[in-house]
Homo-oligomer: 333 residues x 4
């Protein structure tokens, strides 16, 4: 159960409400976000929803049968629009584009990417400065200094940054240079990190776990929301299956179904979703018609020379051909 509280609810009214919920043995969690005040009640008893809903200080009350509550579309039927400032919105019906390299490498690389983006009107740049790598002997990214360098160049160009955060301790140093925090697939159930991102007033893009279910993804989003941050996007990036002919199995079903399960924007990552450069474009197009609110995609001025794994990275030229088709689909979908 979700109870939306009036902003001016009194202490006394709150206590009365908590009492009522304890009577029916509901476990209550108070949630305060940028945008609202909520009480989440979890319990099993049948009760008269109107009896509670008409108490003073209450704006609205909703039954939510899902295991996740605040991120469910069962109570908030209108889609959440994430406001990135500067008149940039995700989830408003348009198709948001986030492009850039796997890893931030150099000033030159950033400059070239920005030029490419500006040419095509793309305003959000992706890139890693903290890279989760299977092997401890692999390059792990340029770190906070790389982020600062990157930020300096994007700020001048009016471009937003989305980049991965891997641990709670990194948040404070990163927060001023980041527009969207990305949680990677391997950290999709790193609950302490999710808690911490709930306390930050920056949007979060949460990737589905390597073999995460949709319900687990939504439960992880609930961690962020219930800690105070409503500005969340979900990202389908392919799941692990038995098929070995590509890197991941892009779950187009999830793109479609998440849009019905949650009010949060859903972003598709075709680069990881198939993991083979020559096929990325088709997965991006399919995602657009399936209802994705945005595409996050790897592009590089010289994919063959990219740090880490360039096998799924489009060249600028390949990307350009795709942008045109995406625009066309965006218009008619």
């Amino acid at each position: 159960m979700i109870i939306q509280l009036e902003p001016n609810i009194t202490q006394q009214q709150q206590e009365l409400l908590q009492e009522k919920l304890q009577e029916i043995k509901y476990k209550v969690t108070a949630v305060d976000t940028q945008y609202g005040h909520y009480l989440i009640g979890v319990g099993k008893a049948e009760f008269d929803i109107r009896g509670i809903g008409t108490l003073p200080g209450i704006k609205d009350i909703h039954r939510v049968s899902d295991a996740y509550k605040l991120v469910s579309k069962k109570w908030r039927v209108d889609n959440t629009v994430v406001d990135l400032g500067d008149d940039l919105h995700i989830g408003d019906g348009s198709l948001a584009m986030m492009v850039g390299p796997c890893s931030i490498e150099s000033e030159e690389q950033i400059a070239k990417t920005i030029a490419h983006m500006q040419e095509h009107g793309i305003r959000i740049m992706r890139g890693g400065v903290y890279k989760p790598r299977s092997s401890p002997y692999s390059f792990r990214g340029l770190g906070i200094d790389g982020l600062k360098m990157w930020h300096e160049q994007t700020r001048a160009a009016g471009i937003k940054i989305i980049t991965e955060v891997m641990m709670t301790e990194q948040i404070e140093a990163m927060v001023d240079y980041v527009d969207i925090f990305q949680v990677g697939a391997r950290n999709s159930q790193n609950f302490n990190l999710l808690d911490a991102l709930g306390e930050v007033d920056k949007p979060v893009l949460l990737k589905r776990g390597i073999s995460g279910t949709m319900d687990e993804l939504l439960a992880s989003a609930e961690y962020i929301f219930s800690n105070g941050n409503e500005r969340i996007m979900l990202c389908e990036r392919g799941i692990r299956s038995y098929e070995k002919a590509y890197r991941n199995t892009f779950d187009i079903n999830a793109v479609v179904m998440l849009k019905e399960k949650t009010h949060l924007p859903v972003i598709a990552d075709p680069s990881h979703g198939i993991g083979v450069r020559q096929y990325v474009d088709k997965i991006a197009l399919a995602s657009a018609v399936a209802g994705a609110d945005g595409i996050i995609m790897e592009v590089h001025h010289e994919p063959e020379k990219a740090f880490s794994d360039g096998q799924q990275t489009l060249s600028f030229r390949e990307a350009e051909r795709l942008y045109g088709k995406l625009k066309q689909l965006e218009a008619i979908r």
Copy 2:
């Protein structure tokens, strides 16, 4: 290695060729289809392809490194167009539609479906008369009598029939009433059935196994082709994964990649691919932009009352909304 033979190659020329291949220890299989004569050579030795290619009686020779040969795009780069007669083709760049119920139930049901199809210019009707069912106590279809009844109605209407064949012994009785034989997911590696369908001069739609790889699907298609039948279509119908929120995981990656691995048409089955009625339309749209040559889909005049499983079956009204959007995408993809 695939060697295309001239139609008028002499016995003596053939023997010379076989000798040459035995010299390099290649195992040779002769393949005669509706459209050509081939020798398939499987071996490991390096050899001078021109030395063989210039022998008399040979039209062309191709190295094919894939485990499958005749169905590979490595030797036949142009897409195969399956001719169904009456100016109906699959694989020519258009989007073929195959719709109808899960199971054929009654004359009335057939009549209503035909009327619906005619209204929308759809010319191929799907439906089961032999149904593979997990439980031996479930309805297994109307059988050959149902097929004859069905055929009588479709013939009058100029509509083609696609239906599943489950065993070799059924082929002979069915062949006159069927336009496309369908091999179901559970029989995707029933090699004796595939052999037998290779000897029939009717097109075959081969479904991917429940957890079949793309390479296994192509190897199964190779069975049909190498037994003499080139008119094959492949069908992606969702794979088995860990996710339980839907029935199957529609593998959009496979739609994209199969189009590059093989010259055969690729058909998408969004009904089984997600298995939840309200989401079928989006998967159909995504398949269309991903490059599918056709859509096979369950529709029913009263889905709630359908035999077997109506949970993934669209009503006529739902289907109609989809047809329009598919037409739009077909035009611009």
Copy 3:
């Protein structure tokens, strides 16, 4: 619901019973096997089980909530013991051993295998004469002539044959030379083949599908039983998962759970279950303590030279070391 009928139930009594079941709208299937007469009722209505159970001609009546009925342990709590004749039983608490090559190759190979078996008191020989192969260009086995040759040698030695049948048409020619028909993983849901094997009075070993669930395996066994053949064994042979470091994921959980779900014997196939020769022994040992009624395993006098895939085949020497340990575990488990 399963109703066990008295052998001497009269026609009239049967009709009365059918009537009663139709009254409560149960769909009834009559099953006659080597060992008994049953009516299977499938329906939803609540009913008084005693009201039916006390009718004349009825031996016993059981509610069975599983989707499968006759193979369920819910009605037959004692384990089924499959009698192979000559005082050889499977499912009686001992550990049955079935060993032999992947494919039957030659008289010499058979002779050597028999000598090895006799040395160790093993009485069931496995081997393929019809081989399901992914590629149509691979060796498909020696066929019926190979089977006859094989049978001649084993008969003289008092050894039983288990071998795979791939299609209904093969049964008649094979039946006199086979002691156990094996259904391979790819045919685990080839329902027509299962139907046909239900009409044969030879035991059947049914392998789990490549990604079959336990419930699907049991439903497939129900096909055989409900067509008249109670002598069924189930075989766990590894499932398909995302892990690529071995061939299949041996599902030890299934060995344990199948023993609780069904009264049928459960056989473990460690050779395919892990698919890597050096690890087969450990999987066999684990299966024995997990409760398996038998082990089916590939051995060969020269594994490196074996037809098809020798990668999972033990040499006689490797097998010998294992037999001793298995005996030890059999004694204490």
Copy 4:
């Protein structure tokens, strides 16, 4: 490549060595642990191993073709024995037992568990004080105060504690009260946490990811080792598959193969590995004969009343029956 350094290698000798490795373009990482000094070289060039191995200050040099190096059995063929103090060792050929509740709940619960353990000579107690939970509204454990209370009771009884750590920030507060840090399946690729545990001089039990490959597990262990901590145990706890009849698919293959891939002890978790109470015992027995160095298992004095999920927790009585059988197998395996 792994180069083991002499303890008294000089600065100058080290520099010479680094130079040599740079010449062949190997990327070098210096690793200092409790037990040794190593240089890890990663590169592609062929080189004369003796030319480096005979340099002064070098104890030994090993080529290791695996992606993981220090945890590989390719260079250290003897099994690592983890010393827990008080004459308690894991990996020495015996079967270590770790039992206890899912969550630490109360003094009474701890006391009862300790009494049970002492009766059976079990010296390592498992239990959670930080619990990773899918939902933010679930109980997350008693935290550091619970750990202190628990430690007070176990210390008096001479019992060791294994418990999960979820984030780097928790380590410092926990370290004095913990004998083995456990990394849960969801944190199996939380590389920052692994780094931090590499700097702690307490043994670590690392669980395989929910759908982690063996190679990923070993790469994660490499993080810990290469940060300075050699005292690592790996834990197989079941993987995610398509089968829904149990909670996880216990990967017995992995138990067998990990013992050949690494010198580290391998622990089996049958509780999570099958997730159904009545079947846990058989999985424990199978693991013992498959070669596991230990069993970690949930037991509770009142499983039905346990916090969180008691469905996989054995009662003391059930556990006792199992201990006896495990002892018997330990003696003969």
